[in-house]
């Protein structure tokens, strides 16, 4: 079991192909690991029987030589992805008991390529949060800790995804990233998290938060695994009108390529007051690593960066307020019978079904779209969004990729930021601009804080240039040589 849980997906794939292990054995190990790390609250629904059945089928395909690219690899699925026959709640009370009859495009592509589904992973309610604390199931816990006592946030919204991959209870996991929901938890948990270009992965069958920002992506232990899983998740889908019909670049070649001669932009605006010193130092270190590998640093300016968060917190809630209107208690999910009128039922259902943060964002969004406020808020935010995108367009005329810190701090203790939404929103300050611009971003674990918590560096590239992203990420990974097992890893727990 020990060896199995430490393998990367690429290594596990080789071992499976060589029949050193079977998909069933690998899956059993992960089911046991999920059991052993239950205190991390990563899984909101385990599908062990389904996993073993899928693993058995994988073993058959490996035996008859028809194995797919992810054959037999056990993965966890963020509970935002609709999975046929498996309860899908978006970690909200309002969807408790909802079992879709359909499978999201992204997950069905993973199963198509042979992946094995372990279960559904914890996340913030409707992906709204930065610490996984808004989940109706309670927060996922970070397997890392500074002193071994206080539970740390796994980050959010994809907290369960990041934590399970870090803790060895999932080999890989799906996530979604609307403002940093993949990259921030990945940085907090010391794993690789990648948000693809908007339009790369179909949104069909993923519970929508903010349609123009949502994008699915992979959580993995290393950069090569990330490219492997991303390739399976990506692809044009006629069922999603915003899905891009664009050819995927050659990622395997990119992973092997040198960054020599590449121009890496260093944006001067990505310096924050009160930023963790270790993060400033790591960012500096990252720049040196790239120079050592032959890249050239180019100071750049992304002048509208400071407007990104306020812009995001208009657009995302505005879209969410409309996207979440369908959870009305009429057709599926929870319903609270109250009063005499339809409006009474709506109010009671939505008051009971949505948590505080979701209600807050619905109200912000409703306000921003209201008659008389639309121009001042939503329209203005769209205009600023365009300026932010223009900043990146101009930058990518000069540079191939941009290097920034992934988060302004390391993982913080659970509970400390719950009462102050604004401080919580600041977590996404480095990640939100990529969502607004639609460009890809990756968080690579690259160092540690003074207290021994993982820290990530973020690489951004131009739209549809995930090859560039992986090229730089692979270089950073190699140079950083990030290793270490979190104290609450399944192996330690078991």
């Amino acid at each position: 079991m020990e060896n199995y849980l430490n393998l990367t997906a690429t290594q596990a794939r080789t071992a499976l192909q060589k029949k050193e292990i079977s998909a069933t054995e690998l899956t059993q190990a992960y089911i046991a690991a999920a059991e052993a790390t239950k205190s991390l609250n990563n899984y909101v629904c385990m599908t062990a029987d389904k996993a073993l059945e899928m693993a058995a089928n994988s073993d058959k395909r490996i035996a008859d030589g028809s194995a797919g690219s992810l054959e037999g690899l056990p993965i966890g699925v963020k509970d935002l992805f609709c999975t046929a026959g498996v309860e899908t709640t978006a970690c909200s009370a309002i969807l408790k008991g909802f079992v879709p009859a359909y499978e999201s495009t992204v997950t069905s592509q993973l199963w198509r390529d042979g992946a094995v589904m372990l279960g559904k992973l914890n996340c913030d309610e409707f992906a709204m949060g930065s610490a996984n604390e808004t989940s109706v199931f309670g927060p996922a816990v970070n397997p890392w800790s500074a002193n071994g006592e206080v539970d740390l946030a796994a980050g959010g919204s994809s907290g369960g995804s990041a934590s399970s991959v870090a803790a060895g209870s999932a080999l890989m996991a799906t996530g979604t990233d609307t403002g940093g929901s993949i990259r921030q938890p990945a940085a907090f948990c010391g794993v690789v998290g990648m948000k693809p270009t908007y339009g790369r992965c179909s949104r069909w069958g993923i519970v929508a938060f903010a349609s123009s920002l949502d994008q699915a992506g992979p959580f993995t232990r290393d950069v090569a695994d990330s490219a492997l899983m991303f390739a399976s998740m990506a692809g044009h889908d006629a069922k999603d009108s915003t899905s891009a019909d664009a050819v995927l670049p050659d990622l395997q070649t990119a992973l092997q390529a040198s960054v020599k001669g590449m121009k890496i932009g260093i944006p001067k605006e990505y310096v924050m007051d009160g930023m963790d010193e270790a993060i400033t130092a790591l960012w500096q270190q990252g720049q040196e690593w790239l120079v050592e590998a032959g890249a050239e640093l180019v100071p750049i300016s992304l002048p509208h960066t400071r407007y990104a968060l306020p812009t995001y917190y208009i657009i995302a809630p505005a879209e969410a307020s409309s996207n979440l209107a369908r959870y009305d208690g009429v057709r599926y999910g929870a319903r609270v019978e109250a009063g005499q009128s339809l409006d009474d039922m709506y109010e009671a259902t939505r008051a009971a079904g949505f948590g505080d943060e979701v209600q807050r964002r619905i109200m912000i969004g409703t306000y921003a779209l209201s008659a008389g406020y639309y121009d001042a808020y939503y329209l203005k935010a769209q205009q600023v969004r365009r300026l932010i995108k223009n900043d990146f367009d101009e930058a990518f005329d000069k540079v191939d990729a941009i290097l920034t810190p992934a988060t302004p701090s390391a993982a913080f203790p659970l509970g400390v930021k719950q009462d102050d939404p604004i401080t919580m929103y600041l977590n996404d300050v480095f990640t939100v601009p990529a969502n607004l611009a639609g460009i890809p971003g990756i968080s690579v674990p690259a160092g540690f804080s003074q207290t021994g918590l993982p820290l990530g560096l973020q690489v951004l590239s131009g739209a549809f240039r995930e090859d560039t992203l992986y090229k730089v990420a692979a270089c950073l990974e190699k140079q950083a040589g990030f290793t270490g097992q979190p104290p609450r890893h399944a192996l330690a727990a078991g």
Partner: protein
């Protein structure tokens, strides 16, 4: 000033604008693949998208876009190559998404015009402000259970065109003519079946009154009218109600009203204060709709001939009266029947026969043209037989009645009943001789100067022939003989 209404305190001018919701004729819904067939069992035509299941996304149906463009071209409107789908947010049990996908700031069709013709022969150009595409909602059934409402989502997501007129209409008669003309054009184009009973075409009417020449008055909107008669009744009632209020020193409230088909009156549905804030914003699930000029041109090339063009051709080429041409072009099927029946024949005569005999018989039998027992070709042959003198117009009416009754061709009926017109001068001579012999006293009177008796001799001769004698020849031969 036309169309003024005399009140107690002076004249009033009526101002009407209409928003017509026309269901797009298409196999599938606007953003999902579900069928649009009318009459399916409750919730049979519902996809995951229509029911707004989590994670479902809309995908535009190109066929509906084509239909909207075609409709725009049919009213000579500007086609917007760039248009945007917006979300109109409101909560209702039969609106699963919690928003309707519609077009707000950038509709697919811009300004156009529709010409209406009234009974007095006057024509009026009615401006069309825009046409936009939008989703229909489902249906709430409140009468199936004592305390619960049932929801049928079959209509949820069906494509509608909202056709918005300028406030150019000045009377209920004009409004009636407008909806009839619009319906006719939609049916010619095949973009909406125009079936008002099934709800494929329904109208919201905005009505206000003002003193001639003054600024527009406050309007009310009466929603969901699904027949020409109801539209006209609702307008007449609103006009009367508003004038009465204003003349008594009252004020019109801007409000939404409902029409009661039983009483022919309207009542308040919701006031302006209760009006929804729809929080329109561009639907982030859909990219803006970008059309190419080629796409539009291709549709333009396929446009059928429309009633105004056909009518103009019937007047100028066939010599029909404007009225007859209007009647014959109101429905696409009527025009097609007429064209087929009159091709290569006396166009005017066929027009007369259609509008008098055929329509009369159909009306009496309660049948539509589609069920006519007399085919276009059958009617054409009958008219040919009149034109070439085989039968008289008088006899033709009897033949037609038989054709309508039995569906047999005119030739067979004439043959069997021996109704062929007698044009043999020898035979007619014999008939005339008999008539003159039997009425020698009248012959003497005629010859004595009583010219009026000529008609009597014609009548007697025709009667004797059983109506079959060629009337022209009877006239000529009689004149010769009486001179005699």
């Amino acid at each position: 000033m036309p169309n003024l209404i005399a009140g107690q305190t002076g004249d009033w001018e009526v101002v009407i604008g209409m928003e017509v919701h026309a269901q797009v004729t298409s196999e599938a819904k606007l953003f999902s693949g579900s069928s649009t067939t009318f009459g399916a069992g409750p919730n049979e035509n519902v996809s995951l998208v229509d029911a707004a299941m989590p994670g479902m996304l809309p995908v535009i149906n190109e066929a509906c876009v084509r239909q909207a463009v075609k409709t725009g071209l049919g009213i000579k409107a500007e086609i917007n190559l760039y248009s945007v789908f917006d979300r109109k947010n409101y909560f209702y049990a039969d609106l699963p998404q919690g928003y309707q996908i519609s077009q707000f700031k950038h509709p697919i069709v811009g300004e156009g015009v529709l010409t209406i013709e009234l009974a007095d022969g006057t024509t009026h150009d009615i401006g069309i402000e825009r046409i936009h595409l939008e989703q229909d909602a489902g249906k709430s059934l409140h009468d199936q259970h004592p305390s619960k409402s049932y929801i049928d989502l079959n209509r949820s997501g069906v494509a509608l065109m909202e056709i918005v007129s300028r406030p150019d209409l000045r009377s209920s008669e004009q409004a009636g003519a407008y909806i009839k003309k619009l319906r006719s054009i939609l049916r010619y184009l095949g973009t909406c079946d125009g079936n008002m009973e099934e709800g494929s075409l329904r109208a919201d009417v905005n009505v206000s009154v003002r003193r001639p020449g003054e600024a527009l008055g406050t309007r009310t909107e009466t929603k969901n009218l699904n027949s020409v008669r109801f539209i006209m009744q609702a307008i007449d009632y609103e006009v009367e109600r508003q004038i009465e209020i204003l003349e008594n020193g009252g004020k019109i409230d801007q409000e939404t009203r409902l029409f009661d088909t039983g009483t022919g009156t309207t009542r308040q549905m919701r006031s302006k204060e209760d009006a929804h804030d729809y929080r329109y914003f561009p639907d982030p699930d859909l990219l803006p709709l970008q059309l190419t000029q080629d796409f539009v041109d291709e549709i333009k090339a396929e446009l059928p001939e429309l009633p105004d063009e056909i009518k103009a051709r019937m007047v100028s080429e066939y010599g029909l009266s404007s009225y007859d041409a209007s009647v014959l072009t109101e429905e696409r099927e009527t025009a097609a029947f007429y064209e087929a029946a009159s091709k290569g024949r006396d166009r005017k005569l066929v027009a007369n026969w259609m509008s008098s005999e055929l329509f009369g018989a159909l009306n009496k039998a309660g049948k539509s043209l589609a069920d006519s027992p007399v085919s276009p070709e059958g009617l054409g042959v009958l008219v040919d037989l009149i034109s070439d003198g085989t039968i008289s117009g008088r006899i033709a009416k009897d033949v037609f009645a038989d054709m309508f009754e039995t569906g047999r061709p005119a030739g067979d009926i004439i043959e069997e009943k021996g109704l062929k017109q007698v044009s043999d001068s020898g035979a007619i001579d014999a008939l005339i001789d008999q008539v003159l012999a039997e009425n020698q006293d009248k012959v003497a009177e005629y010859r004595g100067g009583k010219d009026k008796l000529f008609g009597f001799f014609v009548g007697q001769t025709m009667k004797l022939s059983g109506g079959q004698a060629n009337p022209g020849m009877v006239n000529q031969l009689l004149k010769d003989k009486l001179k005699g």
